[in-house]
Each structure stands twice: as structure tokens, then as C-alpha cells.
Symmetry: D2
Subunit: 312 residues, 4 copies
């Protein structure tokens, strides 16, 4: 059953998973990346998320990733772990493995591949939460799982103590505002951490009351997101906006791939990895099969974004 989630605020980047040329987890690079993020001031780490390439990793690789991240974090910040699997029994299995490895919380989506009914969502999350002893976070990512988690459902599960928070990557603004208003109304009934996954509108989401952000781009520029959150915390909204505008311009590195030639996943996490390799923070920008690597021209575009943002 979930416990308090009060510490899950601020910048919690979904850590990318560096790979060797042969496609193995590059643990040395991963440790270096974790160090970079913690030095950057992040308040938590999210391992095995979409940006962590989790859907491309075997269970064994996932365990290597999680152990490496938790080891490198060394208790300085909590580590959330994705347990992203097609249905309940599989999520529970991965969640237990992650808990045993030291994860401070588990992040799970709605079932996918299967056609999921709205009435199956509460039983799904209840079953996962009851199987673990750390907080459970819902990951609302319809672009991947093709199911939207309704705010009424999330708030009900928050009130029950099943969910400690949500990472919202749904792009549904109405739903997100409902969540924020509803979470505030929960009061004593449960700490519920509302995190946005939309890394280019964090200023507005913090203004609306979001507790934090899970930005893929935060791998590349953790300090930027930390400055953004700090500006928001002290009510410097012009400052928050200026920082967000800079980060939104930097985020254009996900569009470095030739239009129409690669998936959004390749453009996004491949772009982050290419940037991290250019910054010397990881050894290679290798992405998992069947994604393709960035071409030299695409890499040059990523480099240009880094230079414009003052990172290179």
C-alpha cells in the first residue's frame, strides 16, 4: 500500500539508458549521467520510463539499469522505477523486483496491447498497489497505451491511498486542471503528487499548481529545469517563462531527424542521447533496434540547438 509521497516534487527526470555499440547497458555512462543529474539539482530520478527506453530492454537489462541508477544515486535523491508491462500480473512482477532493488516508488501505466475497459483500471492499480510496499504512481500516457486515465478515477484512487501521484503525459489540459483542483481538495485524505510530463509548458503547469515535472529534456539540461522550478516557487513567473522559453527552444533538438524518416521516439530519446553524447556525458548515442541512429546531418542539428542554448 502506498505511503506518503510528499517528497515527490520538483524535477524528476526520466533517466535515459546509455547503450554500448553492441546494445548492452553502458553502466559506466549511466553512472556518469546520474551524477550529472544529481549535481544539476534534481529532486528525484525516474528509471525505466519511456525515455529510459524501457520498452526496448529485456527484464535483465532493466534490472541492470535500476541497480546502477539506485547505486549511483546512493540515497541522495529517491529513485522511481517504471514497471511498464502489458497487464497487471506482469506489472506486479516487475514492481516487486524494483521494490526489492530499492526503488522509492513504482510508476505504472494502464494495461496496453489488450483492449482495456474503463472499469478495469481501478482494479488494475489497486492490485499493483496492494502487492508492493512503496508508493505507486500512475503514468498517464495515451500516446503509448491508447487509454486515458480520467481525473475522477485518479482522484478516487488517491483518496483510497492507492495512488501517491501521477505523471501526466496526456496533453489533456482540461483533465490536468481537474486533477490539480481535485488534488488540492483531497486535503488530509492523501498526499497526491501531480507531475507533468510536458516539458515545454512547465511554467504554466507550475502556475496552475503542478507539484513537479518529469522532463526527458531534463537529462540534457537539469539545471535549466531546476532554475525554472525555483523561479516558480518564489513567484518569479517572468523568470520561469524566460527559462521555459529557452528550454522550449532547446527541445527543438527532438526535431533534428529528417521529417518523415523516423518515429517520434527516435527523434525524442535518440535526440536526447545524441545531445548527451555530444556533451560527453555518455559514451555513445546508440539506440535500441529497430530505431536508427541519428545521421551526421541530424547530429549537427542537435549540436546547433545545444550551442544556441549555451550548453556547448
Amino acid at each position: 500500500m502506498s505511503t506518503t509521497a510528499s517528497s515527490f516534487t520538483g524535477v524528476i527526470p526520466p533517466v535515459v539508458t546509455p547503450l554500448t555499440e553492441q546494445g548492452a547497458v553502458d553502466t559506466a555512462s549511466l553512472e556518469r549521467l546520474v551524477g550529472h543529474l544529481i549535481e544539476g539539482g534534481v529532486s528525484g530520478l525516474f528509471a525505466l520510463g519511456s525515455s529510459g527506453e524501457t520498452a526496448y530492454l529485456t527484464h535483465e537489462q532493466q534490472e541492470t539499469v535500476l541497480e546502477t541508477v539506485i547505486g549511483a544515486a546512493a540515497g541522495q535523491v529517491p529513485v522511481l522505477a517504471g514497471a511498464i508491462e502489458t497487464a497487471t500480473r506482469r506489472v506486479v512482477e516487475r514492481a516487486r523486483v524494483a521494490e526489492k532493488a530499492g526503488a522509492a516508488g513504482i510508476v505504472a501505466t494502464a494495461p496496453f496491447y489488450t483492449r482495456t475497459h474503463a472499469g478495469e483500471l481501478a482494479p488494475h492499480f489497486r492490485a499493483v498497489a496492494s502487492a508492493i510496499g512503496v508508493p505507486l504512481f500512475a503514468y498517464d500516457v495515451p500516446v503509448c497505451v491508447h487509454t486515458k486515465l480520467a481525473p475522477g478515477l485518479l482522484l478516487q484512487l488517491a483518496a483510497e491511498g492507492v495512488l501517491a501521484g501521477v505523471k501526466d503525459s496526456s496533453g489533456d489540459d482540461v483533465s490536468f486542471r481537474k486533477l490539480l483542483l481535485g488534488a488540492r481538495a483531497l486535503g488530509d485524505r492523501g498526499a497526491f503528487s501531480v507531475l507533468t510530463g510536458h516539458e515545454v509548458v512547465v511554467d504554466g503547469m507550475l502556475l496552475a499548481g503542478a507539484d513537479g515535472v518529469v522532463p526527458g529534456l531534463g537529462n540534457v539540461d537539469p539545471r535549466g529545469y531546476v532554475r525554472l522550478c525555483e523561479a516558480a516557487r518564489r513567484g518569479d513567473w517572468a523568470g520561469a517563462r524566460a527559462e521555459q522559453d529557452r528550454l522550449a527552444a532547446l527541445f527543438a533538438l527532438v526535431d533534428a531527424v529528417e521529417p518523415g524518416t523516423a518515429s517520434g521516439t527516435t527523434g525524442g530519446l535518440g535526440g536526447f542521447k545524441t545531445a548527451l553524447a555530444l556533451l560527453g556525458l555518455i559514451d555513445t548515442p546508440v539506440v535500441s533496434t529497430p530505431m536508427r541512429p541519428h545521421t551526421p546531418a541530424e547530429t549537427a542539428r542537435v549540436r546547433a540547438r545545444l550551442e544556441e542554448a549555451g550548453l556547448l
Copy 2:
């Protein structure tokens, strides 16, 4: 060809279309509603939008609506007119009728019903713009037309002088931020008005630099949206957020319909009409066939939202 659009900022509500019990346009109620909106301080009016039930109205009814709104506005604020039709030739026809009737600008979507290719969008908007003498606004509403207008396309058409602005109801935050950054970068090459249709996140969108908002809920509470925009303009972001939170709570009136028993259109524009009838601003909450009216229980829920918001 489009001319300057510099005046299209602030609150521009999509005016609902009051109907008589027999389904005719209730011009007396419509005039009253326009008066209410102008007194509320709106900076423009958008007739024949989705909230204006335009897809349910015959061309003759649409013309009645437009003449009534323009007549009642009497030049106090500009009136934009939707020319929402399946493809170019039909949009042009409606746009010319609207221009002749005195519309200050035309609002058009991507083609729909037909399967539309990305390469057809620029020719579509260029053909419409070249057929009229008032500014053209793109209406980005994938939930209705099942095509997303890419920010690169919109900015290209802005630079060409084809588009004077966009009403963004896409819910795509990344795209919206790109639009805002891109519109700023246009500089002298063209005034381009970026309006959000997402009425519950206006505070954040204004923080990010949006020029204005087209809120269906603005029919019910124009003063609230005007206060929100004014707070933003003077940099009072806490005030903007508080006003938005109040409006977001009021917006729950669109959820007054029994879950699963009506379309989002019925819940939304039917909810706005029910609220307006309760406020005495229009005579009936009648909606077009095949939508159904609100039940007494649903109407009571709308009333409760109005009371909580201090409007009744």
C-alpha cells in the same frame, strides 16, 4: 489577402446560437447575448464556431446568425465568422458570404470528411485567403476534423501573409509553444495572433505569450475571462491563476450530463446554453437535433456550478 490582425487579442468568445423551441434561430436572444458579452468587456466575437452550433445550422440559418451578431455588435467589437465546411470550394463560398455580411475576419479549419493529406493544407488556406479581403484565421481542432495543423505550416502561412492568426484547440502543448516562439520570431514579417481555445489553462497560455483566448465558457462568464486577461497583462499571475481556478471549477458545468449518455458536444454547448437560460440571458436551452436537452437533474447540476461561481 489578409491584412493586419493586430486587434485580435484578449477575450473573443465563440458565441452560442440560441434556438426557439421549434429549432429556429432565436434572434432576440442572440442580440441579448451579444449585448451581455460586449458589456462583459470582450474584445471580439466569434460567430459560427463549434460552440455556435454551426455544424447543425443550414446556410440560411448561418446567415441569420451572422447578420444578427454583426448588427448587435454594431461596430463596438470586431466579429469573426466561421466558414466551417468540408473542403475549399465550400469554405470559399461561405467566407465570401460572411465577408459581404461584414465579418472582420474568417475562421476556417482543415478539410474534413475527406481524407486530407498534409500537402493539401497550404493550398487550401492559400485558396481561401486569396478569395477574400479580410484576415483569415486557421482553426486547429483535430477532435473535429481529425487533422492537426503543424506549427511549421501555420508559421509559413503567417510569413506569407495568408494567415492572420490561429485558434488552437488542439491540446498539443508542444505545438502551441512552438507557435508562440515562432510567432515572436516572425517580427515584421507578419502580425500573427495566437489564440488558445483551451479555456481552463488560459493563465498558463497567457504566461507563455498567447495573444488571447476563445472560450466557450466566455458566453457564460465573459467578465471572468476579461479579469483573467487583465491580471495577466499587468503581470499579476497569482491573480490570473485564482481567476482561472474559479473558471475551471465553473467549467465543470460541461460535465453535468449523466456520464455515457450524451456526446461531449451536448455536454459542452448544451451546458453553456442551459447556463445561459438559467441566467436569463437566452430564452431556451434548446439544442439542435440529434442532440438531446439536459434533464432536470442535469440542469440542477449546471445551476449548482453557477451558484458556486457566484453567478446565480
Copy 3:
């Protein structure tokens, strides 16, 4: 209210709308095309369907098309008319115009552009049927209107006498089989004509009991579809299949456009028009803005398909 539909069987092609270079309806070519189809042995004509480019035509153009087709058909075969509009009131208006022009039946879709609820579909079709004095056919085309008509709904409306038939372009095999089984079970309660719009699986659909087919490709090769239906009628399934295989190969002309450069609508109805122009049956292959014309290379591919099929 609908009357008997027993004559709506066999091949009922959705007649394409030839245009002049200036985009006007080319009535002379349209008359020629109708003559070609009737000589080809079709049992009816469907004017103002998707293949008839109806979504691109103004109401005035639509009326010209309908008058021309009905005039050229001269009572030899019945003419169905599409009344394809966003919502009920508009469909009724168009349906009445078509009835007055002499249409033997009206074809209407679910509402589109608006978000439509399942509960709105029966009222929609009932309202249309009660406004006209000729049979009403439902057009099930989710790729265009983004709503699927459930077989239970269609059969209920058939039993009520609201619907005289359906043109199924949904690609939902399970649903189609249910329709066929259900229509048979209706017995005396109503003639209900189940027509498939899937022109490459007509053999299988006739085997399953379909009453007829509405093939866009039937513009190009009406005799082929007539032979296919006749083979099926006499139980010559090997013959039906061979004819269908030939037609399926011919249908590849819709793929003549360079991949990724045009919409399916352009490839499809643009391909049919290009073929008809090559066959000398219409004067130009012009399609409506914003669709683009076939390039010479694409036209050559259409020509190759016609030659392979023995039509040129």
C-alpha cells in the same frame, strides 16, 4: 417514411463527378459517363457519394450533378443521392432537394465534425427518414465520419422501416456478417438492402449474402462488376473469384500516386478520374482543390493497370 427497397441490389456505382479545367461540373462528360454505366449493365446509380467528390462541391454544383445524372439515367435505373452533411437539419435540407429532383433514395451518414454519441444516431436517421418520401439508406463510413454504425442499430432502424438499406464501407467484417444474418432474420418486417462498398472482396461478400455492391472502381469497369454479380447469382464462385481477382488487380490504380505525397482520396477518386479520362469517357481528370492532379508518371501507372486489365 421509407418504402420498399427491393430493387436496390446488384452493382450501384458511386458516380464520379467530372470537372472542367476551371472546376465547374462538366455535365457533358457526366452524361457520357452515365451512359457508359447503364450500357455496362449496372442496376442503379449513386450520385453525390464520396467518390462523387460531394464533399468538395457547393450545393449548387451538387444540384447540377444530380439533375444531370437523373436526366441522363432517364428512368432506366434508379438514382440514389447522397445527402452528406454535418448534422440532421442540413441532411434533411439536402435530402428534400434531392427528392424533389427525382432521387429514388437518399444516402446519409452519421453526423460528423461534431462529436457524436451513439444515442444520437437513431434520432438522426429517424428525423431524416420522416422528412422524406423515398427510401433512406445509411452510409457506414467511419474513415470519413469517425463513427461506426452498429449492426444492432441498423437492424433496429430496418425493422422500424426507417432504413431501406446500408452501404457498408466500414471494413468491419464481423459487423457486416451480423448485418447479413440479421437482415435475413428480419423477414417480412422489412426489406433491407445490404450493400458493400469494399470493391475488392465482393466475391466473398456476395457469398456471405450481400445484396449488392457500390464500387468506385465500377465507374471504370462496370461490366466487370456486373459479370462478378452474375457469376455469384448463378453459383459460379470460381468465376466470381476470377473476375474479382482481375478487378482487384485493376484496383491497384488507386496506388498510382507516389507513396506519401497525396491523400487516399486523391489516389482513389483521382485515380478513377484519370482512368476514365484515359478511356475517353470524361474530358479531364481534374479533381477539386486542394487535391492535386496526377503527374505524368502517375498517369502512366494508371494506364498500365488499364492495359493489364484489358480495358485499354
Copy 4:
């Protein structure tokens, strides 16, 4: 690399996975079910498919299933194994485990959860095929993976020897006919087995040239599908259609769940399991969390379908 697939024709049911009340794999029931299918005359078995609840099973449970099915089949018919995982590396891992367990072929989908680009599909299937020594079958199931496998891609991979066949559950008739025509044109370049997953239109698909069918309903009535295929083989199309009509009526058991209260997966595989339990072929109709069991009223409806079909 794939080898000949010539034996993969006829009826190859996707074997359901019986569970105990505690959710463990019920190997005794599974063995009984396999015996029932082989006695029913099926020509192969497909373990760990969608109907086999594979997305709900842990890897350990999947291995138990596969060993049980292969053991019970005892070489009488070949056993295909699903390796249904989010991306390439994971598919390869599962495929190798299955090959080692004795699977005669592997069935894999496009990547899912991740956003997949068309250009990634060929590398994906090539990587899987090159990692195994048994034939690879593509499983085209866009309703689950949200990617359609284009016939051109499949035929290219067939010509390369990468794919030995496809299970088409896409519901795209045009695509399926192209596959059939293309597979015939391959000639000596590769045996390519085109199997349909659409269990209610098998008569028409066999008429069109399909090599076989993978019917979930074949768990319940394998003899019916075998009779259907045999009728088709001897050209008795009226007989094939009559058998298909009977099976289509039986298939209505998937609609036994109260409308709107459960997913299609629950209605479908839950319906099959309920039927199998009623027939005494498996011990319980238990389905995996978060699916819900059939209610007594729903079970009664399944029973009625079985009785009408003469199975009970």
C-alpha cells in the same frame, strides 16, 4: 532464418490459456483442450496469442503454457508460439526461448507501446528472423499494436525469406486481397502462408485464396472450422457459407457481456473460456486481472449460443 511454411494451412486455433481460481496456468485443462482441438482435426496450434491471454501472463507462465501445449500436441500437429513483446530485443529473447521449447514457428507483431515508424518494421522482422532457426510469421493486429503492416512490406519480407506467413487480424480487406494476389505472384521465391484471423468471414477469405484461419472461436468448435475449410477445399461454397453462417451465429457468444461494461477482450476470450467451461473442456472460466468474470446472466447467454449451435 525462416524455412518452408508449406504446412501452415487450414485451421490453426489460437489456444486459450485455462487458469485456476488462483490465476495459475491450469495445465491439466490445457492438455485436455489441446486433445479436444487435435481430435477436432485442426492442422496446427497457436500458443501464446492474444486469445491465449499472453499479454496477461508472466514469462514463466508463458513457458509453462508452451511446454504444456507442445507436450500435449506430441508432434501430431505443429505448434506456433507467440513472441509478443514491445520491441525487438524482447521479441528475440522470447522467440529463442520458444524455439528451444520446440515451437515450429514464431509469431511476432510490430513493436508497440513505443511509437513505431514504418521504416522500423523491416529491420524489426529481419532481426527476429535472423535470430531464430524456425519460420517467422507476422501478426498484423492494429487494434492491439496500433500499426498496420502494409502488404508491400510483408511481400518484400516474404520474398527475402524473412517471413513465412502472416496472421491477418487487421480487418483491412483491400490489404488482404493484395496479400493474396502478391503471395501467388511470389511463386518459387518463397512459400508464404496467408492466414486470416477474421473468424466470421472465413468462407469469403478462402474463396479469395487464403491458406487458412486462426479462429479464437476454433477453441470452442474446431470441427466446425475444419468442415468449413474442407467444404472450401472441394469447391462446395454453399456448404462453406452455411457452416460459416452457423459459426457466425455462434460467435455472438462474444457479445454475451452487458454492453458497455467490459472490454472486447473480456467479451471475446472471456466468452470462449466461459463456453469451454460450460462444455466441460476446461475447469474454470477464470480470466486474468484486471478482466472480470462473466456474470451468471452473461454465462446463460453463452450457454444459449452453444445450445443453438448444437454444441450443448
